[in-house]
Symmetry: C2
């Protein structure tokens, strides 16, 4: 579905006052562009005699980056669905008695948990894209190595963007053990990704010098 | 032209061994998403009584972010054109005599200069998107402030990505004064953008806490 939309309409809708697509969709596209650029470098490395020694490793990277690209493209729609569920739950009638109020609250809380887990999963996928960018930056075709640097920047922006959506939803979750566990995982993801992004970007810069 | 392409086909072509779209196209889209998300936050701030005091400032941001989004969307095609010109020049017959060789070299050098200036202009546009993200993060509707954080991350990834394309082309330019002037401007852009990105992201995080 997201695949069928034109870039122009996607950007128009992103800019509009419609709540989706928003930051979550942009995060998923950044991640998908990162995975796609890993694939591009891999595709331009496979079959080249100069890189015969790493051929099998590059093919393995390519298989992973293509699977990741498909998942991150799907994540655009997952974000819309999770957002709509939260809005739908908040929009339920507030209820007259305690039982009805409690049922509405339970639905809101369940939707918020889902809307926290969906961007957290997107962040995990972006971390994988960063790892693959780092790997292809080491072994990929030097003629297109700048694309490995763009891959890591895109995937990192995707992760940092998804992270904000985790935070915004986790904040309103009453089950603090649930929320704190997600926020702790997020901090670990960000710490590792920040270091690997900087290292990979510098590696690419040094190969361009 | 780029506007008419579907997201799915764009990502397929990005991942393929076709040289364009590549990192330059991804950089432009990251920048365009950044500008679009500034517009989204602005659109959801304008007209709200709570934000009446900043209404005129937000409208001014919106006008700038929409103009920027159009330019960054066009930059996708500019990147393809500049790349094709370089490839076309390298593909010219090498020539038999010195005059023919010199003519080919001149065409390559002119194409490389253009292919350095095009991503440098994209980087400048991304810097503007970062500045607008910083402004809207200060004054925009708190309910969608996370989108200002995604905006700055996207625009920053666009700038850092475009920077690699400046470097890769500047490297082969024989007119070192030309190349060094572009690289010096790039370093200034990156320094300012890195600080403003970090500051804006932290501001958004603090507003979400």
């Amino acid at each position: 579905m997201a695949r069928e939309q034109t870039l122009g309409v996607f950007l128009d809708e992103l800019a509009s006052e419609a709540p989706t697509p928003g930051g979550g969709g942009a995060a998923a596209i950044s991640g998908a562009m990162g995975a796609a650029l890993v694939s591009m470098v891999a595709n331009l490395t496979v079959g080249k005699p100069k890189y015969a020694e790493v051929e099998e490793q590059v093919k393995a990277v390519l298989a992973k980056s293509e699977a990741l690209r498909a998942k991150l493209t799907d994540a655009i729609a997952d974000d819309v669905k999770a957002f709509d569920a939260v809005m739908g739950a908040y929009g339920l009638p507030k209820g007259e008695d305690d039982a009805a109020k409690a049922a509405r609250t339970a639905k809101i809380q369940a939707a918020l948990k889902e809307a926290t887990d969906v961007p957290l999963e997107a962040a995990r996928l972006c971390r994988e894209a960063i790892e693959l960018s780092a790997e292809i930056a080491e072994i990929g075709n030097l003629n297109v190595i700048s694309d490995a640097g763009v891959a890591v920047q895109s995937a990192y922006a995707g992760l940092m963007s998804a992270a904000l959506n985790v935070r915004v939803n986790a904040k309103s979750i009453k089950d603090r053990d649930f929320a704190e566990a997600r926020l702790a995982e997020l901090e670990t993801l960000i710490g590792e990704a920040t270091a690997l992004n900087a290292k990979t970007y510098e590696l690419v810069k040094s190969k361009l010098a």
